[in-house]
Symmetry: C2
Subunit: 140 residues, 2 copies
């Protein structure tokens, strides 16, 4: 269903600017990922997207995530014992914390950590392309 995309011509532009074609599958997948506030993995995305567009395949979800990640439009969260999860690249950067007891993935508000990383990397002569930080923690 392409209507969701029509409501949000942003995605068309985002894809175009990245030199990517606007396919209905990509539109559906992006719509789902944008409307989700948790951090779905490929299976989650596939199932939710299927509900509104049964032309998408798992392979395309994988390919779309990969392509959008390379374009800097999506961030991949690499878990150390579970399939990767994804989020639309946030306007305001943040990191992630896994609550080891509940399994929840929580966003850490504030840009301090990212800013410190940039500074430290700069001191080493590097510019950060992306960073994946997942903190594993327990409630005190």
């Amino acid at each position: 269903m392409v209507s969701a995309l029509k409501n949000d011509p942003d995605y068309r532009k985002m894809l175009r600017d990245a030199g990517l074609r606007v396919t209905p599958q990509r539109a559906s997948i992006i719509t789902i990922l944008s409307e989700t506030d948790d951090h779905p993995n490929v299976e989650d995305l596939y199932e939710k997207t299927r509900a509104l567009d049964d032309t998408v395949s798992v392979a395309t979800v994988y390919r779309t995530m990969s392509v959008l990640e390379n374009a800097g439009l999506v961030r991949k969260l690499v878990m150390d014992d579970a399939p990767a999860r994804y989020e639309m690249m946030p306007q305001i950067d943040h990191d992630h914390l896994v609550d080891l007891d509940s399994g929840d993935l929580i966003e850490i508000p504030g840009t301090e950590i990212a800013e410190l990383m940039s500074r430290v990397a700069a001191e080493m002569g590097y510019q950060i392309v992306s960073h994946h930080t997942v903190i594993r923690a327990r409630k005190t």
Copy 2:
């Protein structure tokens, strides 16, 4: 060859204190990992360990890494597109940076990042168990 371990009875104690048995395989694997300054993956470890002890199997390398990680003696570095890599748990914490052009994994000196993370986590009511941070960057 167990001699390496005998020279470093530390490992025996480390294992004992963690409630783990001191097997020749574990001794060989720890010896190799300790003597290495890069960050080997399981395949690297397996091959290098084999050279001095041909009784180790890949499965045991996996199991040993897992067991040592749980005991807090080894840190697993989760890569987003390659097998996990390992290092002995460092005395002084540090993070890691992947040079996207060379593929090198570089240690970031200093504990600032880890300290900031602890502080931020504490503010959220969490205590960090472990964190994996991999910064992907390019030389400026």
